[in-house]
Amino acid sequence: MSHEHEHHHHHDDDDDVQEHREHGAPLTDVELRVRALESLLVDKGLVDPAALDALIDTYETKVGPRNGARVVARAWLDPAYKRRLLEDGTAAVAEFGFMGRQSEKLVVVENTPQVHNVVVCTLCSCYPWAVLGLPPVWYKSAPYRARAVIDPRGVLEELGVSVPESREVRVWDSTAEIRYMVLPERPKGTEKLSEEELAALVTRDAMIGVAEVRR
């Protein structure tokens, strides 16, 4: 390895640093700090390591945008469900068992020929976890948080969504604990598809409002 590695050989932290050099790549400062915090919290009895695994597993394998896609497909097929969804999103997604963390109150906003909705959180990363899972990196990034409110049409254009001048672009800046999900427009030519087939077309980005659903 490098000169830096040589240097560490003469350093009294050597053993610890060596121990952390896994797979040949040195761990970054944040990796080391997170490890230190984890080991301290576990040793102090403040976190249960099995609870950490369960939290990770929940959002890595159980809760994700497939939840929201099922809701959207149901709303496209069932007008009574759609009405309930737009009136009280929290209750309507709870019919599927979707509820909880970062979805204390859910408002579903419908894209129509008159309005295109886009969701952002300019101050942090608020996102409807129960229906979409954890937010992608771009949603939490400075470019999106900065531009979505001042130049939503520019962002949409870059991402392949062209909104006619006469159609309103309505941005929802999630500054409270109310979470927003977009009900995208159902694409033409999908009249014969089943609920499962429709759900398979619905993307995470369409439910944030930065994509359209395509056949």
């Binding site: 976190v47 990770i56 204390e104 300019t122 942090c124 604990e177």
Partner: protein, 223 residues
């Protein structure tokens, strides 16, 4: 605080870069930063608004140069220090592989693995049960306060001193601008307020466009 986290309306960050088939986490330390933050939150020593405020206090140049889970790791470490759960010395000792007796934290009620599912499903951080009268009703015209508090606030800079219209009343919620600063829950109505793009960004903004922002009674005056 007028920090680097308050990004709405800034220029110069470049295009929005969507990663195809993005994994939920990009490395193991991200998984851990996420899970530790949630698990430590369930200790009940701080609220979600304090958690956000801790991340906002990362120095601005560092905030803009680091990733999201680095913000979370920074916030977690700060909260653990501020609440006396983990000391700076303990962290430094671990980083250097040095043995150090741990300061005990008596009486902590921790999140057990078998409670995770229920805890996530029933997590309710901010809705308030108090019966507080609303100051505004749907269709009322309001103007946001031109305030620049040093602490936590959910009124973004780009929306201060702007005129809007109440479009939804969400009922009574904890007020983050006090709760996040350790000054109590101060429950009050939270509304969605509609601002035209032209009110926020001037006459060159597209006429039909609008930004809807969730704000509380204490952010608003009658217009």
């Amino acid at each position: 605080m007028n920090g680097a986290h308050d990004l709405g309306g800034m220029h110069g960050f470049g295009p929005v870069d969507i990663e195809r088939d993005e994994p939920v986490f990009h490395s193991d330390w991200e998984r851990k930063a996420f899970a530790l933050t949630l698990a430590a939150g369930f200790l009940g020593k701080w609220n979600i608004d304090m958690s956000r405020y801790a991340r906002e206090q990362m120095p601005p140049a560092e905030y803009l140069a680091t990733s999201y889970y680095e913000h979370w790791a920074f916030g977690l470490e700060k909260l653990l220090h501020d609440h006396g759960l983990v000391t700076q010395d303990e962290v430094e000792a671990r980083l250097r592989g040095r043995a150090q007796p741990l300061k005990p934290v008596p009486g902590a009620r921790i999140l057990a693995a078998h409670d995770v599912e229920k805890a996530l499903r029933t997590s309710r951080t901010s809705k308030a049960d108090e019966d507080v009268a609303p100051r505004y009703k749907v269709r009322d015209r309001v103007v946001t306060r031109n305030v620049h508090p040093l602490g936590h606030t959910r009124l973004p800079r780009y929306a201060r001193g702007k005129r809007g219209e109440i479009v939804l009343d969400h009922g009574v919620w904890v007020f983050p601008d006090t709760a996040g600063n350790g000054l109590g829950r101060k429950p009050q109505h939270c509304y969605t307020v509609r601002f035209t793009a032209r009110e926020l960004w001037g006459p060159d903004a597209p006429a039909p466009d609008a930004v809807h922002i969730d704000l509380w009674d204490d952010h608003l005056d009658p217009a």
